[in-house]
Symmetry: C2
């Protein structure tokens, strides 16, 4: 595990999260399936934040390759809980790599909590409403990530970041005061980090802004599509899951940029299901080519705050300095 | 106009909004149709914030009665823009009362801007996405309110408060640097006020938290329903507009508490339209009785942060003090 000592060049945003994980910044990258490989996770950890590999649906060979790539940077991993229910062996594969933390999202974490605790790995549970948070508390989560609908990629439309975060903070204060809280869904700069802390969080999980980095496994064309978009240019939909044959629970949709594919199929889901075989080939080819019109660009509403592709370390340092200034800690 | 000098008992949250409107707190109450009458608006203004009467669909007799009730407190008024398009005489009725500000929401404000400017009344435009904000800039708005989906009552599901606010702040910095910005949709305590300022706003528009006051025109039973609910207990729907025969543009739904009525009809809108005559009587009777099961309780996701019914002044003072503490200004 890489421990990052305080850097006198940068103002401090010390929180319970930086203390617990020995970080310089109270920032975790979202374990974005595909985009958050070993390269991004390592860059985030080396910058003094907490890097997570996006373990997604639990492809062991891919996950192993990403841990290899991250080397000794000290990274954790995220897994999709409902996929883990079907392929529990992915959990053992990840625990063998001694992750700095394990994040579970999109399902009930309780069946996996004892095994993760026995391995001595901190458990981070991403939740999407208050009911989810009570399950995460019961699982003994070390950190709860409250993700609002503003987020990119998979999530739940029903709760917004601005109100979910303080409500879960109040719940934890009563039910689990030693459980830390991170905000997710729209944090893309120091304003968002400062706002999250103001709302009661100990830190943030950053997706889209760290997706828009040199180290993320994202095509140049998708990066360019995101730079050209504003926050009005996204929607939550299931069309990309239908076409991939991914059996997501109905409550979870994914936020992506509007494009030719969503314009064609969003709202025509029954028709898409019946024509999946022929449509999926084009989507999968488009995804392999990184084509933002044939496949989908997974970003959140914070895309309207992103105008550049930068190294992850530069983004993290800027976020920390700006938040410190806003909170009067500089 | 009531000018409220600084009060040495309370820490300052001075922003461009407090300077522009001579306020003690950078807080405006949402002009909630029905709930925000003259009594609430006056209490808000007398507490050192900016009180607005909820002029709604433009019922002149009701609006006049509310201005009479507010007396010399110095209050403004809000109107629903698409309703004003059909009944433009409501604008003259409000301007005759020399409102401290006029808020327009839910439609294109440009046709009304010149008349409002000629009356010397500050124009506040509530917007729900970036495209709306460009119309408000073109209208010469003095203040833009960026309302995210977390909000109660009518709004747009597509943009969350957490990301809409900084995106509009960036837009205004380039396009209209003298136009002020307020955040709306989920601001219910000093954490929310501090977060809004961190995100780039000059102040906030507060709905649900000021709906839950002694001065709001809300039934005890609806107040009790809100106290008993948490943030998972709301939804956005159009069923109450269908049953009332209100012809809202399709993009605007209203966030209300789940209840027997929404459970019966949400998702069955065509059926509800065909049976409107018989269903509407019960809803309208329920509304008149303040019954939270037969009619609807209009609150946002911030209902999960509300546990008490208080005087408006106490809420405003607490919000200011807590925000000042969070932002290191106390």
């Amino acid at each position: 595990v890489t421990s990052t000592p305080p850097d006198p060049r940068h103002p401090e945003i010390s929180t319970r999260l930086t203390a617990r994980f020995k970080l310089r910044y109270p920032i975790i990258n979202a374990p974005m399936a595909g985009a958050a490989g070993g390269r991004l996770a390592a860059a985030v950890s080396r910058a003094g934040a907490l890097g997570l590999i996006g373990g997604g649906y639990g492809d062991r060979a891919w996950i192993d390759a990403q841990f290899d790539q991250a080397g000794d940077a000290g990274v954790g991993c995220g897994l999709i809980t409902w996929a883990l229910e079907r392929s529990p062996e992915a959990l053992e594969a990840v625990l063998e790599r001694q992750p700095r933390a394990l994040l579970l999202s999109f399902g009930d974490p309780r069946p996996f909590a004892a095994r993760i605790a026995a391995a001595g790995v901190p458990l981070i549970c991403q939740v999407h409403n208050r009911a989810d948070a009570t399950l995460a508390i019961d699982a003994g989560a070390d950190v709860i990530v409250a993700q609002g609908s503003d987020a990119g990629g998979h999530g739940d439309l029903r709760r917004g970041t601005f109100t979910l975060v303080p409500e879960i903070a109040d719940l934890l204060a009563v039910r689990a005061p030693n459980t830390l809280l991170c905000a997710a869904g729209g944090v893309a700069d120091g304003r968002g980090l400062a706002a999250a802390i103001a709302l009661g969080a100990d830190g943030v999980l950053v997706g889209s802004r760290l997706w828009a980095t040199c180290e993320a496994a994202v095509s140049d064309a998708m990066h360019a599509a995101a730079i050209g978009a504003n926050g009005d240019g996204t929607l939550r939909t299931s069309v990309m899951d239908i076409v991939r044959g991914l059996d997501w629970p109905a409550r979870f949709t994914a936020r992506v940029l509007h494009n030719r594919f969503t314009q064609t199929w969003h709202g025509r889901e029954p028709d898409l299901r019946s024509r999946r075989e022929q449509v999926s080939r084009d989507w999968i080819d488009g995804w392999a080519a990184g084509d933002p019109e044939r496949a989908n660009t997974f970003v959140g509403e914070a895309v309207g705050l992103i105008d550049t592709i930068d190294p992850a370390a530069a983004i993290i340092e800027r976020m920390g300095a700006q938040a410190a200034s806003i909170l009067g800690r500089d």
